[in-house]
Symmetry: C2
Subunit: 357 residues, 2 copies
Amino acid sequence: MNDFCRKHELSIPVVLAPMGGGPSTPELAAAVSNAGGLGSLAAAYSNPEQIEQDIAKLRALTKRPFAVNLFSPAAQLPLNSGVSSVVDFLRPYHERLGLKAPELPQKPIENFNEQLDAVCKAAPPIVSFTFGLLPTEAIQRLKAQSTYLIGTATTVEEAVQVEKAGVDAVVAQGSEAGAHRGTFAVPAEEALVGTVALVPQVVDAVRIPVLASGGIMDGRGLVAALALGASAVQMGTAFLACKEAGTSAAYRNALATAREDQTTLTRAFSGRMARGLRNEFIERWNASALTHLPYPWQNALTQPMRRAASAAKQPELLSLWAGQGVRLMRELSAEQLMSKLKDEIKQAWADLKNQLP
Amino acid sequence: MNDFCRKHELSIPVVLAPMGGGPSTPELAAAVSNAGGLGSLAAAYSNPEQIEQDIAKLRALTKRPFAVNLFSPAAQLPLNSGVSSVVDFLRPYHERLGLKAPELPQKPIENFNEQLDAVCKAAPPIVSFTFGLLPTEAIQRLKAQSTYLIGTATTVEEAVQVEKAGVDAVVAQGSEAGAHRGTFAVPAEEALVGTVALVPQVVDAVRIPVLASGGIMDGRGLVAALALGASAVQMGTAFLACKEAGTSAAYRNALATAREDQTTLTRAFSGRMARGLRNEFIERWNASALTHLPYPWQNALTQPMRRAASAAKQPELLSLWAGQGVRLMRELSAEQLMSKLKDEIKQAWADLKNQLP
């Protein structure tokens, strides 16, 4: 077993990807941790009270290590002048869903420093983050209370920056990954490197443990990632259909029949590049040729539509985040899935022995 | 050892990717075959005489199995009306290189049936192909003389079509792969699935052996691909710097310092989507917002510029095809590289044992 798994007492080299906006729940994180993986709580869209409550709930459900995930505040960009065009674009969808006219919220995202205060107070064993580096003071503060830090990189250069910032491990996010790209050092279009290429190049460039993410769904992928030099795998899409996940019914239905060639990269929902299933909203947004608002403004502005679409079971107006391994998703409880992954690792290992020359 | 490797007597599960337009030589194919892999000859841009000569040369250099690669004639599209704009775009580059004004050739690509005649006459043990299925008669003719056939797929659906056509094995080409995409059943933009996601989904959908391709450069990648269920790996970029390759000096220089985030997908050079290093020609083409000619017309029209740029050592006007694993390329002879890959497989296997929980 490798250092990362030993340190965090993982009997299965699986880290649950933090999946904000619904799928991530304390129940899901606890189930993964209890089954021998590392559960993660998505805290980036939560206010301090929610963070406190979620961590307390998670602690009541597991005695094992877990991670809390935050977004780098460096990803928050100032508003540009395109608001009225985007509001106009959204108007008919609001009408269709019976919502009042779209309006830009004053506060598009929770305050990072307040979130950090709540996280530091709750003192989870691990804090992971994406969308860039955390501020130096935040890193110092977390490290001063012995928090293990996991950053996110989509290129070798980003992984080197994460390591230089004093972070303990790095997720190498391949282009297959569902939901938001973690890219922060180059344009997102230039950082779409597949997992099989990204992981070994990152492993060669840093000394800290590397966690593979993107397109990995089963024991075959887990063994492959370890062979590439990863210490563990961060998996999100694989857990979307678990009963413990907060995935909405409309989202679950869309995922159940999705194919590997149905995902696309889009900024339509949030202003940041993310991978999800193509649907009406993405296609109409692309056809409009409008310029998105910068993150987090586009995200905040489209949120009422997405919430209402979810309640109304209208997947065509939802952000259906999914990775390219989506065909391999299983409808199991997290506990069952973890147990299956463990068996599959053994099977893949046995099959590999027969494959080798 | 698996059936594919046993059948073709491979002691290293490596298939040399056929790399037309320069890098592919009989010497490179022979070196890979002689070292226990499967060498491939790129024949798609060769006339019947060249095919005959290349196969004869290859046979003189190795007694072991090898493959000859053709393009599906279904990929040849009729000319559209945009010729004069593309000619105007190319004019200044022709002037810069001291070439006469660009002119559309009457015959943009060799005749497939004549190529097939030459291949059938030479009767190589294996024929591989990409850009679509071969015509039914071609498949029947090759199979009648016991040729082993390897097709190419970039989605699950394409792999199923390849199998249904009676083909013996399929290359699953991940989005990381350098040079042309093999996509034929969906728009190329929708078929950019990373290797780690594509391979197991294809393996689950077909019974024929699956060869992984895209982003795999060393023993870690080879073991990973086998863990995903592949029977072998097709590698191109890894061999570009070998002395036996026909890679030009300017191309070699550009590759030597290339990073994983410097490749891009473009139709600028050939009209078909392909992955290569970003350079002046691609950027100016993108900025022009011109519509490319359909393949193979754009390919034929830009060829004189690329040949002259290669001779003049001007990488900014060359198609610098490369996959996303490019940082991991080694400057070794093919024999040395194959020997290293063999050692690395053993090392990756040993490391993996220690990694597993």
